[in-house]
């Protein structure tokens, strides 16, 4: 019998992980969210609140939680409105949660992270594995928060070896909201002239599967997760149905004054990611955890372009209808 708490269950990813975990009858899922969940959570129970550390300890102890999934990060489900609030939520929120887990005797914590925390650099190996340290400079916004969280988690895991802390460094997700895919889908997305690095992506379906799988199996330390194929930035833009417009650097980086959200979204992360690669090696997740991505990067972009609608497949729709009508009452 496992009791799992999902922090950040309100978003699309959280709701899907909750439903996925509920498929397993042995798992009890408790959700915690800052806002009313956007999607149904299956048989999970949830709580809408912003808890501080001590309140978290109380919740974890009262519900006898043994596993925590942390996906409550600002900037993953919607654009960030305030940097300060985002740092509070992403960095301080995760530190609070890890402290509470330690106090409440939680055995395992799985934290969502990003494969770009290594930073983009010409000195990156072609395939980065988990032994490479997280970049301490050259990142901004959401990635910088995650890099800070990663550094904290590394130290935390060293000091508390009896608690399993795993971070899933996922390539940019396709499906649901994503700042990157948003950028690619706007008219004439800008690229740095003369550069076209390779990027990796991960289908949200694979991300859901990975979070559930890693939560239910013992794991610790960082794991890189990405789809098996890679795409060039220009190719990703074309797959999103747009044409890239090569421009010089100053036209891509958002100037300090220009932070109004009504403006078309500029390149959402550090401009170095338009110049250099940050391709990760997923060997560890595959061989130690038996995880494997089911969806390719290019295929998932094409699928998202159809607005996430199911393909017009009569047989699949018929099967879905039968399954719904015969569901357990």
């Amino acid at each position: 019998m496992r009791r799992v708490l999902i922090n950040g269950v309100g978003g699309v990813l959280g709701a899907r992980v909750a439903r996925r975990l509920c498929e397993d009858a042995d798992v009890t899922v408790i959700g915690l969210s800052r806002y009313e969940p956007l999607a149904p959570l299956g048989r999970a129970e949830w709580l809408v609140a912003q808890l501080n550390g001590l309140q978290l300890v109380e919740l974890l102890e009262a519900e006898q939680i043994d596993t925590v999934i942390q996906i409550d990060f600002a900037g993953t489900e919607a654009p960030v409105s305030s940097r300060e609030a985002a740092i509070q939520q992403n960095v301080i929120g995760t530190m609070d949660l890890l402290g509470a887990c330690l106090r409440a005797g939680v055995q395992q914590v799985v934290v969502r992270s990003h494969s770009w925390v290594y930073g983009a650099s010409p000195l990156n190996p072609m395939m980065i594995d988990e032994r490479r340290p997280v970049a301490r400079s050259g990142l901004r916004g959401f990635l910088r928060d995650l890099a800070e969280v990663e550094i904290f988690m590394g130290e935390f895991a060293e000091q508390h070896p009896d608690m399993r802390v795993a971070s899933l460094r996922m390539a940019p997700l396709v499906g649901g909201w994503s700042s990157l895919i948003d950028y690619f889908s706007q008219p004439w997305p800008r690229m740095l002239i003369g550069f076209d690095p390779v990027i990796q992506l991960l289908s949200i379906n694979d991300a859901v599967e990975a979070l559930a799988h890693f939560a239910l199996n013992p794991c610790s330390g960082p794991y890189n997760l990405a789809a098996d194929d890679a795409v060039c930035i220009s190719q990703a833009i074309r797959l999103c149905g747009q044409l890239p417009s090569p421009t010089i650097e100053s036209m891509i980086v958002r100037s300090k004054r220009d932070v109004s959200r009504d403006q078309p979204q500029y390149w959402p992360v550090d401009v170095n990611f338009m110049r250099h690669t940050c391709v990760v090696d997923t060997h560890r997740a595959k061989h130690e955890m038996g995880w494997a991505p089911q969806y390719g990067a290019a295929d998932s972009i094409i699928a998202t372009r159809q607005n996430g609608q199911a393909p017009p497949d009569r047989e699949a729709s018929e099967a879905a209808l039968r399954a719904f009508l015969n569901r357990k009452r």
Binding site: G119, P133, I193, A298
Partner: protein, 432 residues
């Protein structure tokens, strides 16, 4: 970049092996003009073409007796070559024709045939089969037959359609690259050019290719020369096209990671399968049983002055030996002769180089005086010798941390290459 990362790189990257080149060896083998199924339907018309050419050709050649076995029926195995033969014949016949209209018609026909032939060199087996089918009943030697024009028209339309489809497919982003950035479409586009440089421009003579393993990991170690790193492209071309077992092996060359900071060059290198010269990359490629080519001389080799030609520079700090020892990969020394003279570099204008951020700025008899024309390499004759492999397995991976073993092996590889170069130089009568 944090301090810790910099220290790590400085410590673990003693020799970034340096090279930049266009590599054509990664394209799928089936992209070569490959044998198509024998075309039997052409036999009747071919026979008609065997009627001796008259000074005044009949508009309707009389039906001919059953076809004798004709050696030129290699048409189906070498479609483009055969098309060029046909084109020549059509041209001759048109020249001999008396009526001016007929002769100009023949020229057009010959031109179209040559266009079709050019395009067919780049086609895949499946496409060649389709073209064969379209030309099925047509006698390509008889341009006065309406069937000829119909057949050629269909083929041209098909080819235009193919090109349009290709461009549309690229515009929709429907192509695949590997995680290193290798793009097979781009390689197909570059291949004819590199092949021209290999066979026609430098008339490269490759020796000892049997020393390159047909499968499994191996580290090619070559001397580096010639200002622009053409030598890597030629080594890759030699392995891809002239290996005795015709395995079409891909050579992944390592280039200076500085090149990945340059616009246009960085994506071009990645698309042709080149990898930045970091030890991690070399180890990873060798562990995947790939064929990796390094140039341990690096910038010192490629930016060598003409007066220092064929004197090997220092082989870095033996980083390539460490990589080979760690992965147990055999080392194949490669000696390239001929590349030193393609751009005779008389002087290295260091101040200009520093200003532009280049590793060196060559002054040759032609560059920068002739501008872009000065970047055309001289058509010297090349020889590439692949020496017998040096096994590293008996030392074990621990030996990579033993500086004496590493440096003595590096010296051995360097001596082998230098001796081979000296032998080839002695054999050479002229640089052209």
């Amino acid at each position: 970049m944090s301090e810790s990362i910099e220290i790590e790189v400085a410590g673990s990257a003693p020799t970034p092996p340096v090279s930049v080149e266009i590599d054509v060896s990664h394209a799928p083998a089936e992209a070569e003009p490959t044998p198509a199924q024998p075309n039997k339907r052409r036999s009747r018309k071919r026979a008609s073409a065997e009627v001796p050419v008259q000074p005044n050709p009949e508009p309707e050649p009389s039906p001919a007796p059953p076809p004798p076995p004709h050696p030129a029926s290699a048409w189906s195995t070498q479609p483009s070559e055969d098309l060029f033969e046909v084109e020549l014949e059509v041209r001759n016949r048109a020249a001999q024709a008396e009526a001016p209209s007929s002769s100009s018609l023949g020229d057009i026909a010959a031109g179209l045939l040559s266009l079709v032939g050019e395009n067919m060199r780049r086609m895949t087996e499946e496409q060649v089969g389709k073209v064969n089918e379209m030309l099925g009943g047509t006698d390509l030697r008889d341009y006065l037959d309406p069937d000829f024009w119909k057949g050629i028209g269909m083929v041209l339309q098909y080819q235009v359609q193919e090109q349009v489809d290709f461009i549309k497919r690229r515009a929709r982003g429907e192509y695949t690259i590997d995680p290193y950035g290798l793009d097979p479409d781009i390689i197909e586009i570059v291949r004819p050019f590199v092949s021209f440089m290999y066979h026609t421009w430098w008339r490269v003579q490759a020796q000892g290719l049997e020393n390159v393993p047909a499968q499994g990991r191996a580290l090619l170690v070559a001397n580096h020369s010639g200002v622009l790193p053409w030598d890597g492209a030629m080594i890759a071309s030699a392995v891809a096209s002239e290996h005795p077992l015709q395995v079409g092996r891909v050579v992944r060359s390592l280039h200076l990671h500085w090149f990945t900071t340059l616009p246009f060059i960085a994506p071009a290198l990645a698309a042709t399968g080149q990898v930045p010269g970091l030890p991690e990359n070399a180890v990873r490629l060798l562990e995947n049983d790939e064929l990796v080519c390094v140039f341990p001389e690096g910038i010192k080799g490629v930016g060598k002055l003409y007066k220092d030609r064929y004197k090997l520079a220092r082989f870095g700090r033996g980083g390539f030996i460490q990589v080979a020892l760690r992965t147990g990969a055999p080392i194949v020394p490669v000696a390239v002769v001929g590349a030193e003279e393609i751009y005779p570099m008389l002087h290295n204008a260091e101040s200009i180089a520093k200003m532009l951020g280049f590793p060196y700025f060559p002054i040759t008899p032609f560059f920068p005086w002739l501008g872009l024309l000065g970047t055309i390499p001289l058509p010297t004759r090349w020889n590439i010798t692949f020496c017998p492999p040096i096994s590293t397995e008996e030392y074990g991976p621990r030996a990579a941390d033993d500086p004496l073993t590493v440096l003595s092996l590096a010296e051995r590889v360097r001596d082998t290459i230098q001796e081979t170069i000296n032998t080839r130089l002695a054999e050479r009568t002229s640089i052209f």
